[in-house]
Symmetry: C2
Subunit: 201 residues, 2 copies
């Protein structure tokens, strides 16, 4: 999985976010230290200590940056076919090449019950992802390819299933067959959401 | 949420499991120590150190004990109404009173990518839960209340959604409305699994 933060970025913050991404994929949350983030950082390590009070403060900013990136990548006014957009979203979320990164995200979420700043940040990003998905559902209804379902409820359900798939996959060594979950999710979409008995793919 | 391990148990292992449950709900995984488990343990703390090499070894045994408890509570040959059994299972998994415990379970799952023994144990329990749910679906098909669906695939999907709901709930301070997820899950079951357009509840 490619680091979403450009390597040629001149801006210090972006370079720090890039280093955080690499260090998080490499070490996971528990073994992550500011020192290890510094090892991935091409500029002076002292810059990191100047900007952040510790790894958790840095990680909250990192989560915010990821959300900015996601929102920049997926403009809500996108007029493309709603089915294609839904497919792209599901492929992106369940991409097996993002497993290391998703494992790290699960670790961060697992810290959230004890960390108010993490909780607030995940609440914010879950809201943004739900709104993004609900926007796709709304577009599909307007385009006549989706039934008149509740976009927010549909988005909440799909997002929940996707998160469950990631959680179970990273914690069980492949005991969970993601393709089965994806196929059942498609079946749900066909029977509840799509106008015709077509496939999401 | 009541501790599933009896307080009047004479057996040392059960008393240790009970103490582990209480300490885990109180401190979460990251802040859990054998010392803190000892504080919940009514017998001599040295017994814990005699049995286990550290908190992770103790926790693997704890996960195994929880699975034994779950399997003891829910005999696979149960002849009760399949719809009732499904409802009971979903209520149990999404019980808001179990939130502290479920948070701790998410923390343990988040350790799994770095801990082979945890991964093996979660794979084992996911398999057991899937088989339990698939058994309910099979019974429902035999009783004529469920359609001729694939019991394993249906179970995999339901279990995934339930885990996603727990993960998102504990990490977002209530941004996720569990009742919406539950209602959409019921809608999925009605449109895909149940013979008649009835409610799961």
């Amino acid at each position: 999985m490619e680091n979403p933060f450009p390597s040629d970025a001149d801006e210090t913050r972006i370079a720090m976010m890039r280093a955080t991404y690499d260090a998080l994929c490499k070490h996971g949350y528990t073994d992550l230290t500011v020192q290890r983030i510094g090892e991935e950082f091409p500029k002076s390590k002292s810059l990191i200590y100047q900007h952040y009070d510790g790894k958790d403060e840095l990680l909250v900013d990192f989560l915010e940056s990821l959300l900015d990136f996601f929102e920049g990548e997926s403009p809500p006014g996108d007029s493309a076919d709603a089915l294609d957009r839904l497919e792209t979203f599901l492929e992106y979320m369940l991409d097996p090449e993002r497993q290391e990164f998703m494992s790290a995200m699960i670790e961060l979420r697992a810290q959230a019950p004890h960390n108010e700043a993490f909780r607030a940040q995940f609440a914010k990003s879950d809201r943004a992802f739900r709104e993004h998905l609900a926007g796709i559902v709304r577009a599909g209804i307007e385009q006549g390819v989706f039934r008149d379902v509740d976009p927010d409820r549909t988005a909440e359900f799909v997002l929940t299933t996707v998160h469950g798939a990631i959680l179970r996959q990273v914690s069980t060594d492949g005991e969970v067959d993601i393709s089965v979950v994806r196929e059942e999710l498609d079946a749900y979409l066909r029977s509840r959401v799509l106008v015709e008995e077509g496939s999401v793919r």
